[in-house]
Structure formats: structure tokens, C-alpha cells
Symmetry: C2
Subunit: 346 residues, 2 copies
């Protein structure tokens, strides 16, 4: 796999990673003529010391290039200042933004992120999370497992925050109101005068059902039916593939509500290729408000899920939990309709 389109120069320089045994707290203590406890306290700022002592310590640390070993520290303090984050697919801009938000508040609180993209490892999800849990102080999980099968999360004995609203488990969660999101989109499309609706979903995601329900609820008020299709993946490619099936089938819709922006963008691309104009011939909507929906042509009507904020909130919740606040809270992020060019009056 490494040669495909890649050439390489090999420099036969053998560089020995010299085993400079990286000074320990003991070395510092010896050099500065104090005890290890003193050094430890100084380093952690647990205590201040007399002027001359501090000077000596600073000098010794400087001279030895001492850096404390976080592992040893963690070993005794039982905390790693690391948060585990599992994401379904880092290629999806929605999750990218979640990571960005989470990372930001983590850094601010001096935590680092252990990231796992579970896409590659669906089957082994549980063992993977369990392993991850042993190396971090807390976890933020975006999982595909149904809530009913997630009891074991409680046995992790580590604070967990779920990245999607879910109140069946006594675990904090943050997510968008999916029903409301699609409800808003549907209402918007109804207002534009559309009557034939199709939903292009992603059945494997559990929130898919909530999104369908939102559409159905809104259509029901108008006495309308919904055609449901499945894109098999939450990607642009899947959206492209599904397009002909949706548009060239028996009941051609005037409006297509997609599971997310990626599917919608792919759908629009394929529709255009088929000579179907968006939004003139068909209105298309997505969900997530990913950056590319703004610059695509036509730009994409969507619902903002505040992905970055979601990451921030999740991380903040976790850090709160880590500092003792044990309240279990289910945060619902309010969706916000973003009307752009891909939807137009019928």
C-alpha cells in the first residue's frame, strides 16, 4: 500500500536514539539538595518555598532539562487529564466540527483528546471503548449501538457523555431535536407549496427514525403521505447513487428531505447530471449545515445542528462531571432552519 504513487529517498544515516534516561524527580532532588517531596510540591505548585530553595530547584530543573513524567503522576493520582472521544466517521464535517468544539474546551481545561474513529471497527466497538476507558478520565461517545444495549457503559466507572440525545440511560447526553429539525424543514417546504414528499434517509442511524417521524408528523397535519428511501450511507456518494432511484421511480417527488447534508449534496449533484434542476424541478434539503452547503451551487437549505457547540457542550459536561457535578442532564440543541437556494416555491 505504500508504494502507490510514492517515491522515496532513503538516507542510511543510523541515528541512535540515545538512551538519555531523562532526569527524574530524584535527580533534581539530589542536584538541588532537597528531598523528592519538595521537588514534587514545587513542580505541582502545591506549595511555595523560600527564595533560595526555589532558585536552586529552578536551576536544577533547567540544568537537567527535567520534565515530569505524566504517566507516573497519573499512576498515583488516578487521573490522566485525557478525554476519550469516539466518532463515527471523521470524514463527516459534522463530526469534524464536534471534535473541534470538544478539543477547544478540552485544551482550555488542560485536557487532551484521545480520538477513535469507530467507522473502521464497528464490530469491536465495545471492547474498544472499554480499552479506551482505562486510559482516560472520561468519555464522549458517538455510538451506533442502541440504547438498550448500552447498559455496560455504566460499568465503565468513568463519566460518559453521549453525543445524541437519549434519556433511557442515566447518562448525560447532548444532541439535536431531530423530530423538530425535520418538522421545520417540512413546514418550510409545505409553505413553499410542495405536496409530493420523499425522505432519503440512512436507516442504520437510529436517529433516522426520529427524523422520519418529524416529517410524517408535519405532513400528517396536511393530510399528505411520505415516500421513504434509504441511501445506505451518510455520504455524498450514497446520495448520488440514490438520486435516480428516488427521482426516476414511480412517484417523482417535488421535495426531497435528506438525512444529512452530505447525502443532499450528492443528490443535487446527481440530479443536475440527470438534467433535473434544483430547485426548479425538485427542492432538496439537508441537515447539519456543513460548510460546503453554503458554497455549493445551488447552496443548500439545511438545519443547523451547531456541531461545534455540541462538541463544546459535551466536553464541558464531561469536565463538570469530572469535577464532581454529578447531575445527569440531557441537553437538547435547538435546530435552526437555514434557507438557501436549494428550496424554492413549487
Amino acid at each position: 500500500m505504500h508504494s502507490r504513487g510514492a517515491s522515496a529517498h532513503v538516507y542510511p544515516i543510523k541515528r541512535f536514539h540515545m538512551k538519555k534516561p531523562s532526569a527524574t524527580i530524584r535527580d533534581v532532588a539530589a542536584l538541588s539538595g532537597v528531598s523528592v517531596a519538595t521537588v514534587s510540591k514545587y513542580i505541582n505548585g502545591t506549595k511555595r518555598f523560600t527564595e533560595p530553595v526555589e532558585a536552586k530547584l529552578k536551576a536544577a530543573i533547567e540544568q537537567l532539562g527535567y520534565q515530569s513524567n505524566p504517566l507516573a503522576r497519573s499512576m498515583v493520582t488516578k487521573q490522566t487529564r485525557t478525554i476519550g472521544l469516539t466518532i463515527l466517521d471523521i470524514s463527516n464535517p459534522h463530526f469534524t466540527n464536534v471534535v473541534k468544539g470538544a478539543n477547544r474546551v478540552a485544551l482550555r481545561h488542560d485536557y487532551t483528546l484521545l480520538l477513535v474513529d469507530v467507522e473502521e471497527t464497528q464490530a469491536r466497538e465495545r471492547p474498544l471503548v472499554e480499552a479506551l476507558a482505562r486510559r482516560v478520565d472520561g468519555l464522549i461517545l458517538s455510538s451506533r449501538l442502541p440504547e438498550e444495549e448500552s447498559q455496560w457503559l455504566l460499568d465503565l466507572d468513568k463519566p460518559v457523555v453521549l453525543l445524541r440525545r437519549s434519556d433511557k440511560l442515566p447518562i448525560p447526553s447532548v444532541g439535536i431535536d431531530n423530530r423538530l429539525a425535520t418538522f421545520m424543514l417540512t413546514r418550510h417546504l409545505l409553505d413553499l407549496g410542495h405536496r409530493n414528499f420523499a425522505y432519503l434517509g440512512f436507516g442504520q442511524a437510529r436517529i433516522n427514525d426520529e427524523r422520519i417521524a418529524g416529517v410524517r408528523d408535519c405532513l400528517a397535519e396536511a393530510g399528505l403521505e411520505l415516500d421513504v428511501h434509504d441511501a445506505h450511507a451518510p455520504t455524498t456518494r450514497a446520495g448520488e447513487h440514490a438520486c435516480s432511484r428516488v427521482m426516476l421511480g414511480p412517484r417523482r417527488p417535488q421535495a426531497v428531505i435528506c438525512y444529512n447534508d452530505l447525502i443532499a449534496l450528492g443528490f443535487i449533484k446527481a440530479a443536475t447530471a440527470l438534467g433535473i434542476n434544483v430547485p426548479r424541478d425538485v427542492a432538496v434539503t439537508g441537515i447539519d449545515n456543513v460548510p460546503y452547503g453554503e458554497i455549493s451551487a445551488p447552496s443548500l437549505t439545511s438545519v443547523d445542528t451547531q456541531s461545534e457547540t455540541m462538541g463544546e457542550i459535551a466536553m464541558q459536561k464531561l469536565i463538570d462531571a469530572l469535577s464532581g457535578k454529578e447531575e445527569i442532564e440531557h441537553v437538547t440543541i435547538e435546530p435552526c432552519l437555514i434557507v438557501r437556494e436549494s428550496t424554492h416555491a413549487a
Copy 2:
């Protein structure tokens, strides 16, 4: 920041994280009537034992729900099975793909990724990397620091792989041939008959100069000049902003070569809004071949930098280094021209 557009239900259930002190190797030893050494060896598969002993061990481990503590293990083995990865901006699909590739081979070798998005912390880059280095076995770095100021990387005493070709330092690196990439784009545009060229770059990135050089070299052969502009950021937004400056200035170009796809996509969006048709009025190219360039309208001519492969190679290099191979190699990924709709004959 947490209340913006978010409502919450608070469940006042107080769940005590019971201090189930999570069984240690000692407990297992006691329960199964052997010594800790034996348990350790069994767990690590270092040694096999007689049938009855193994059975006892398995039972005890099962019963106690024992899971080994990776921290304690790392403490003595001096390896964490964790790789540190710093990325300039996780929002950029190029880096996203690098992460994906890296993550894939990491998982395959039973390593996990410690991810840091340095965008938020440009100034503190060095201390941040140093801190990171103490918690991982090796590092993959995408840095903005000039090579000359990166000597200190050698003092980390940990294997490092740089995410951009750079042979001034005795550190393995992997990156694209930037000169060649823009050279190819320029040649392509020349072949299409364009004569007025502009380059819309991102001056803060060091590879920017290499990319300019590639364009210049190619244009020089044709005796042509190049107008160089700067977008201030490697983002779609920056591309949008820069568009009017480039297109409505004194020398309107027929072809614009952008620093990356994001800038190019933003540029096209803004040009279209200005009533300038791409590719009829101006040809536009990007670099990276991000997924959205394929579905944008017009789709984007670009150069594939094989971001995911890049991540894979970088990780593989690092893992090789970790297992003793000390050769310092500079891998150059060959760019590959992807012609799409945004470039057209003059």
C-alpha cells in the same frame, strides 16, 4: 456559551460513582491461588501454563471482571501504545483524511491516537508538543514552524514523522511534491490556451513558496509572468473574500491557481456571485482533491495529494521506527492531476 440555542432537562438523580476499586492483578492472583508474576505472564501471553492453572486464572479474571491497567503497565514497559498527532486544522478535509489514514493503520497495530488540533494554540506549539511527547510513544506532526526552528524536535527522544516533505532535518517526513503539483496545473492551463495567470496563496504556510515556484517555473518556460495574491487563510471564506481583489483588480487573470481546494471553492462561489462564470470567464484550480471538489458546480480541477495515504504512510513509518527501523526517509507522494469542469479552454 452553553445556553445559546439549547434547552435542558435536569434530572436530579444522584448517581454515586461507586468506588469499586477495580480488581488488580493481585486480586486475581489471590483468588486463583497463584502469584502475581504468574498472572502477569498469563495476561501478556508471555508464557503458557498447565491446563488447571490456566482454567483457574481464566475463571478468576472472569469473576472479578479484571482488566489490566494500561497506565501501570506503561509505567514499567515505557511504552504507551499511543501516537501523538498534531494537525493544523481538523476542519480542513485534507487533514481529516490524514487523520483517517493514520487512525486506520494505528488501530490495525493496536495503537490509539492522541489528537491535537494546534489551530487554537499556535503560540504555545512547542510546549504543547513537548507535553504531548511525554505521553506517547511517537509523534506525527503537522507544524507551522520553520524547519530551522525545529531542532528541538530531536531532543524529544521520541520517534517523530513530519507531515510535509522536509529534508533539512534528520527526521522522516512524508509530503507531496508541491512544485510538481502546481507545475502540472500550470502546464494543464497553458495547454488550454491561458496566458494571464494569478496565484491565490496562503503565505503563512511554508509550502506556499514551493507551490508558487512550481507555477513560476512552468510559466517561465513560456515566458509568462505571474500575479501573486494572498488569501490570508486556507479556507473557503478566505477564498471568497479574495475573489474580488483578484478578479476586479488591474490585471484580470484568465486562470487562477489556488493554494488549496477550499480557497478555490470559495473563490468560485464568489466569482459566480459577481457574475463571473467559471470556467468560461476564468479557469480555477485547487490542490488536495477534497471530496467536495467533486460535487461542487462546476466541479473542481485539482491535484490529488492522497491525504489518506499520506496519513497511512506517516503512521506506518512511525510504527516502523518504533519497532527499531531507524532509517530516515523522506517520502514524496506523487501528485496526480484531476481535471474537472472548473478549467476549460480559453
